[in-house]
Amino acid sequence: MENQVRPLKMMGKLTDLVNKYWQDVWKSKKEGELVAWCSGMSPFEILRAMDINVVYPEAYGGFCGVAGISTGLCQRAEALGYSQDLCSIIRNSIGAIHGTPAKEQENLIYGGIPKPDLLFCETYCPGVYKMWEKYSRFYNVPLWVMERPRMHDAFSKEKGAHFVKEGIDELKEMVLFLERLTGRRFNIDRLSQSLVLEREANRLWWDSLELCQNIPAPMSVFDAVSHIFPYYLYRGEPQAVAYNQELKSELLDRVAQKISPMVTEERYRLYWDNLPIFFKLEEHIKKFASYGAVPVVAMNSFLYGSPEDMDPENPLESIVKLSLSVPGNRGLKGRIEFLGKLVEDYSLDGLVMQRTRTCLLNNMGQDDIMKALTEKTGLPAVVIEGDLCDSRLYSDSEFNQKIDAFMEILAQRGSRRN
């Protein structure tokens, strides 16, 4: 039987929810409400608790990549003098905001990005941090930077206590800053209530990821990168809980019926390192499916830390712990341990390491992780040269050549389950 791509039924709801998010943000902006730009892991919960709208320019890069317009936007950034070596997600935003004439911006996907009234970011990604400094000067709006130290192994109560205390102090300062800026009083009970919802949505998301341990997996990495968005955009709000509840139900149905999102027979289960190559999503799904191979898990899918680290009774501490404990914030040893567990839990047959050409943050240590994991698990691995938003840094023939050869190796070895 021929392999067939079976998108989740939730895809329609996802589109509606994402469209509504952008419509609401634009409406709020036009009505004079405050809009903050946040990097992916900024303490957005506090902003929401103070009725400040949140926009994620990094996520906008993903939307533009999937829509096939990101390379053009990157080129617009380069025309302004930005180097092609700079992160393509950042270049995508610069191209949309500065490189596109004001009159044309509304023709961009979701009408472009509304201008910020204030900016928040973490020190996690140096590229984003530097760009946020630039935006602060450009728009003449305040910037708040949260420190986020790297955990060398993994976050633990003992090793992290000092950082948690510092993080809480920083959040308290941030609250004072926001109170002065907005003239509004911060209500910690409201923050606790939103954390109850966020923890529930997060728990449902982790449940959904765990369901992918089933054979066949009901959702691929290529699905997960889309279906994480309601949680991302509506964190701490009932929409994210409702969406993730329905998503989990659909995945449970698929598990019961043994339905894979990509293949008729799941022959090989793969780990995918880094985010997918946004502008090639559909083609890559077809390519892997042609071999009966499914990327079933990625570290990036665990982007928001564990619900176990969330305690609505101690909201500030929870926010700090979540930020410190995410797998991506671990040093090499911690990440290798986390991935080694994924290899077993998800019954993996091989590792696909996507090397994002313009992301130094994720490329650092990728070879070391690959070497350690192949030695520890004996699984074969392949490195794919790619990028998230700049298609000029990717080659179809190179990708196909490597995947074809990698699949030959997997075929020689056979699936671990046979």
Binding site: D367, T374, P380, A381, V382, V383, E385, L393, Y394, S395, S397, E398, Q401, K402, D404, A405, E408, I409, Q412
Partner: protein, 264 residues
């Protein structure tokens, strides 16, 4: 007599090879040009002519290489990695690592004791570590490609290149010529630059001996010698290093044919 053929349509050169049940009957190598489909027909026809055979005499044809999908008369395809591994083990059964310096990229393939592919690495999307680099430099120096290897052995020093990019290296070579550097010393520098990239790939894959070198780059004696120095190992080079993937393709075709006949 049953014949099988392998066709390897590479980015720079295309190769065909015909096998009978015991040995290689003929082979042909020619530039790939711009029309892979026509080249595939031509390279096959040349091998057939040399063997005094007709296409209908070939029981099975397997295509490989960058342009494999253009070989419309081949019944099957396999990757260069697989074909290269199969071909080199036929020539050197002890080989555990293959360095293939092709026109488009350099690949290093690690084999297990049974000759199956264990791991592979491919050079980045860049011409610096590939045969294309040599082509560019040969053109700038106004020398035939086949002459640059022997000529480089006359070098008295190695001219250093500051770039890893083939395009920038072209202008750097022009600058060195203008500065009065000798051609052979420039070539030694080019070989050192490529060999350094190759050596880093070989070390990355944690190579095992014996180690063989194939592809157009293996015909450049200066490059092979420099690579041996950088990797600190003697490299085994087939007599005709450009046709190992085509040989592997023909062998795989023969194996599949036998399987098919056996199952009838």
């Amino acid at each position: 007599m049953s014949y099988t053929a392998g066709i390897d349509i590479g980015a720079a050169f295309s190769k065909s090879l015909i096998l009978n049940e015991k040995e290689i009957v003929s082979y042909h190598v020619m530039p790939s040009g711009k029309n892979y489909r026509e080249t595939a027909e031509e390279v096959m026809q040349n091998a057939l002519d040399k063997a005094e055979l007709k296409i209908k005499d070939i029981a099975s044809i397997l295509a490989t290489g960058y342009g494999a999908s253009n070989v419309f008369f081949a019944g099957q395809q396999a990757t260069e990695i697989l074909c290269q591994a199969r071909g080199i083990r036929q020539i050197f059964p002890s080989v555990r690592t293959v360095i293939d310096i092709g026109g488009q990229s350099t690949k290093v393939i690690k084999l297990d004791e049974d000759g199956l592919t264990k791991d592979f690495v491919v050079s980045e999307k860049c011409a610096a570590g590939s045969g294309r680099f040599l082509q560019v430099i040969a053109r700038v120096l106004g020398m035939p490609l086949e002459d640059i290897g022997p000529f480089s052995l006359k070098a008295e020093k190695v001219v250093k290149f500051t770039t890893k990019c083939a395009v920038f290296a072209e202008s750097e070579v022009i600058s060195r010529i203008a500065e009065g550097e000798k051609k052979e010393d420039i070539l030694a520098g080019v070989h050192a630059a490529i060999a350094t990239k190759v050596a880093s790939l070989v070390k990355k894959i944690r190579f095992e001996a014996d180690c063989a070198i194939t592809g157009g780059g293996a015909k450049d004696i200066g490059l092979v010698k420099t690579a041996e120095e950088k990797i600190a190992i003697k490299l085994l080079a087939p007599e005709e290093p450009q046709v190992t993937a085509a040989l592997g393709a023909a062998l795989i075709a023969r194996g599949k044919l036998k399987e098919k006949m056996g199952s009838c």
